[in-house]
């Protein structure tokens, strides 16, 4: 696998499902790939004391997040037999039901992509300086805590 440059994983607003299907379609020319695995994070309308989350506003130390994400990708390429990997995360407001996180891993066979995907998703959630502010129906907010 060739060394890749550090990419910007951030997109302003929700991730459009159409861009995901386009991303899948873009791989039809890469015929050494035999398996894809995809994780999609969606904003959940959590109810807390009768107050419902209507959106999450994401901010980040983007430069640091992109650097660490690059390291996570490089480590996954070194550990598993993978062909390519695409990662996007939202910044700014993402409404309930919309997508905020997209991880797309491809490889020659299913076993490597099945193993790599959860590891990459977990590491991104643990290590990237991204901060989610949960905004409620009544315009109050709380800071998201990852489980």
């Amino acid at each position: 696998m060739k060394k890749e440059e550090i990419k910007n994983i951030f997109r302003v607003g929700a991730i459009d499902p159409i861009s995901i299907s386009k991303s899948i379609a873009n791989h039809q020319s890469k015929t050494t790939i035999g398996a894809h695995s995809i994780f999609l994070g969606q904003v959940r309308a959590d109810a807390i004391d009768g107050n419902e989350v209507t959106a999450i506003e994401y901010t980040a130390q983007s430069e640091m997040a992109n650097k660490i994400c690059h390291e996570i990708k490089e480590a996954a390429f070194a550990q598993y037999k993978l062909s390519c990997m695409h990662i996007y995360h939202s910044l700014g407001i993402v409404k309930k039901g919309e997508l905020c996180f997209f991880v797309f891993v491809s490889g020659p066979h299913r076993k490597s992509v099945f193993k790599a995907l959860p590891q990459i998703v977990d590491e991104i959630k643990d290590k990237l300086p991204i901060f989610g502010k949960e905004i409620f129906k009544d315009a109050s907010h709380q800071w998201k805590i990852n489980q």
Binding site: M64, C100, L128, I130, F131, W143
Partner: protein
Amino acid sequence: MKIKIRYYGQLAEITNKNEEFLSVNINTVGALKRLLSVQYPELEKFQFQFAQDNTIVDENQKLNGSAVDLLPPFSGG
């Protein structure tokens, strides 16, 4: 030394700013932490980490003039 301090997430709310420049006469991240906890006593209630040059650093880290980031717990995804 003049350093830029950047506040993220809930810490930007606590300090009511995203960033500021401080002229300081200190050398370490730990000394900066003590200085900031005097300026913003509420910070003591929160868990956070420091980063310098896009790397998490501990309190023994020397300040090198680069921006210092105050990062609350991460909650991406």
